[in-house]
Symmetry: C2
Subunit: 410 residues, 2 copies
Amino acid sequence: MTTIDEQLDVLMSGAAYGDPQTKENMRAELRERLIEAEKEGRPLRVYAGYDPRKPDLHLGHTITMRKLRQFQDFGHEVIFLVGTFTSLIGDPSDKGEARDQLTMDEVEENAQTYAAQAFKILDPEKTTIRRNHEWLSGLTFADVIHMASNFTVQQFLTRENFSKRFDVGAPIYLHEFFYALMQAYDAVALETDVQVGGQDQLFNILVAGRKLQSAMGQKPQVAIIMGESLPGTDGSEKMSKSAGNHIPLMGEPWDMFGKVMSIPDDAMPIYHKLILGWQAEQLAELEKGLSDGSLHPNEAKMRLAREITMIFHGEDGAEAAQQRWDEVFRSKGDGIPDDIPESQLTEEKKVLDILRDLNMVSSGKEFKQLVQNGGIRVNSEKIDDAQMTLTPGDLPAVVQVGKRKFVRLV
Amino acid sequence: MTTIDEQLDVLMSGAAYGDPQTKENMRAELRERLIEAEKEGRPLRVYAGYDPRKPDLHLGHTITMRKLRQFQDFGHEVIFLVGTFTSLIGDPSDKGEARDQLTMDEVEENAQTYAAQAFKILDPEKTTIRRNHEWLSGLTFADVIHMASNFTVQQFLTRENFSKRFDVGAPIYLHEFFYALMQAYDAVALETDVQVGGQDQLFNILVAGRKLQSAMGQKPQVAIIMGESLPGTDGSEKMSKSAGNHIPLMGEPWDMFGKVMSIPDDAMPIYHKLILGWQAEQLAELEKGLSDGSLHPNEAKMRLAREITMIFHGEDGAEAAQQRWDEVFRSKGDGIPDDIPESQLTEEKKVLDILRDLNMVSSGKEFKQLVQNGGIRVNSEKIDDAQMTLTPGDLPAVVQVGKRKFVRLV
C-alpha cells in the first residue's frame, strides 16, 4: 500500500504557486488532510471545473485531468465539474450575442461530450459529474451580497488578470468579479478537500475559494495549482483554441498524430512531461539522447505522437495514424498515400476553385500564399501559377495542399 | 396655472452636480420630461429612498423631502421609497451583529414610523410608500450578473466615497458596490422620471441609475441632487446621528426647540434656507438685519426654533417649547422650570449614581467632565466634587445637568 508521503510526492508534483512558502503550506495541509481522511476511513473529495461553452477540449486541458487521475489512482473521489451556470446565463458583455446563451439541452449535450473526452484520462467508475447551475442558479441577490462581503475590491485587483488591465486603464466589468465568487461557491457547495486548476485559477482557488469556505464554516480546500501549461503546436504560446495552436481531443487520430509531429523539437520534453507524465529521470535520458545524437528527434517525436494518439484513440487509431504518416513522408514513390478522397472533374476549372469547393483552402488569399510558398502540388509538382486550371483531359490527377491534404481528381 | 418654466425654476433650485454643464443638462431633460408628461396628461413619477435601519429621521433628511413636496405641489406623483431590502439582509460586514438584520415585522414597523415622520412634510394623499425588498429579494445570481455587466470596476472607483479609500489603501468591500446596483434597480423597478437625493447619492442616481435604466430600455431618470447639506448643531459638520450633532424629528418639542437654539449664529441662514425654504431675498434681509444690528441674533434664532418646531409639533408644541425656554433662561428666579420630573431618594447616594440610574448621564467619565465644566448643579449651585453625595436629609433638591435636564429629588 502507498504511504501518505509517497502519495504526497506524486500529488504535489507539478504544483506551483508563485512562491515556495505557499507550496510548503499546501503540502503540509494536504498531508494533514490525507491523515485525517485515512483516520475517518474516507477518500478525499477532489475536483476541477471545466467551462462547457466551447465543448471541444484540447491537450492542454488534460494536465489537470491527469492530476485528478493521480488522486483517483490513490483511491480518492473525483468530481468532474461542468461549469453549466455560465453557459446558461451567457456572457453578458456580449450584448448582441444571443447565441452565447445556451439552452439547458445544449448545455447537457456539451456536458456529455465533455465527459466522454475526459474519460480518456479519468476512470469513469471513480468519477462523479456535477453541474454547477444546480446550486448557483438558486442563489438570490441577498446570498450574493453575503458572499461578496467576504472580499474587498482590492483583493480582486491583485489578481494578475485584473491588475494588468487596471494598470493600463482597460475596462474590468463588474460581473467579471463574480466568476471568482461562483467558483468559490462551487467549492463550498461541493464541500471539497482539494481543488485542481491551472495558473489562471490561482486566485479563484487559493484566495476566493478558501476564503469563502472559511467564512462559511468549512475547512478551506487544498489548492493544487499546476505550475506549467502546455505550449501549442507553435512550441511557444500556451495551447488555446483562440491562438489556433491547439490539438483537439476529439479530432481524427491522423490529425492528432500529425499535429504532435508538427511541434518544434524543443517542445518535446514538456509534452513528454505534461501529457505522458514522464518523470525527471526519463526526461533527462530523453534530453541526453537528443543532445548526444543517439536519439533522432524525428524518431522521438514519432514515438511521442504515437503514445499521445494511443491515449485518445487506442492502439488501432495510433497504428493507423502512424502508417499513414509513413506512407506520406517515407514512401520512396510519389509520396501520395493510397486511401485519399476522390472528386470528379467534369469541365475546365481553376485549381483554386477546385480546392475551394472541396473546403481544402478557405480563400483565394490563402491559396495564393500557398502557391508562393510551394505548398500546392499537382501530381507531386509544385505549381507557381495561381491561375492554373485543370481540364478533364488532365485526369487522373492528384492535388496536394501542404503536407497532408490530398484529393484525387477523376 | 404654473408654467413649465416656473416649475423648472423651483424644482431645479438647490440642485448641484459638481459642474454647471450637468446642471444645464438635467434642467433641459427635466424641461423635456415636463412637456412630455403634460402632453400625455400624466404626472411625473418622482422618488427618493430612505434607509430604515435607523428609524429616527433628523432635520437633515427633510431637505430631500422638501424637494419632493415641491414636486407634489405641482401635482406630480411622489414615491417615498423605504429601503427595506438592506434591513432584511443586514450589513454583512458586521459579522457578529445578528441584530443588524431585522425581521419583516421590525422593518414594517420602521417603515410606518418613517412615513409618519415624512408626512410632516409630504402630503400623505399624494404619496405612495414603496418598499424595495418587493423587487430586490426576487433577483437571482444571474440577474445580478446581467446588471453588473453594465458597469466597470473603474466607474465605481471614480465615486468619491470609494476613490478616497482606494487612494489610501482602505478596504472597499465588494458588496458595497452592490448598494449602487440596488438603488439603480429601484429606479428601473419604479420606472421613475425623477430621483431626488443628496450629494452622497450623486453616483448612484446620476451614473448607476441612469445607466441601468438605459440598458434596460427605459428613458434615464432626471437626477435632482441637492447641493447643500444641513450642518448639525455644531454648525460645521454635516448633520448625522453618528456625529451626535443631529436634531431628531420625533423627539419632544422642547428638545427640538432647544437644539435649534444651540446652533451657532452663523448657521442660521442655512437653516432658514434649507428647512424653512427661504428664498434669496428673504435670506439677504436676514443677513442684513443681523449684520447691522437691527435684528438680535437670539431673537432671530428663537423665531427659527419656533417655526421649525411648529412644522413637526404644530402650533401648540412650538408654543409650549418656547414657554419652557423662557422659564428656564429668562426667569428672574432660580431658573428651574416647574414641570420637571421627580424621583425618590431613600438613602445616601452619589450624585453620579443618581444621574446614571435616571439615564441623565451615560458614564462616570461624562459626569466627571460635566463637573469640571460646571455643568452639574444642585439647587442651582455648580458642584465641583465628582464624589459628592446626597442624603434624604438634603431633600427636596433639584439636580440639573447642562442647561436643559432637570430632576427633582423627593
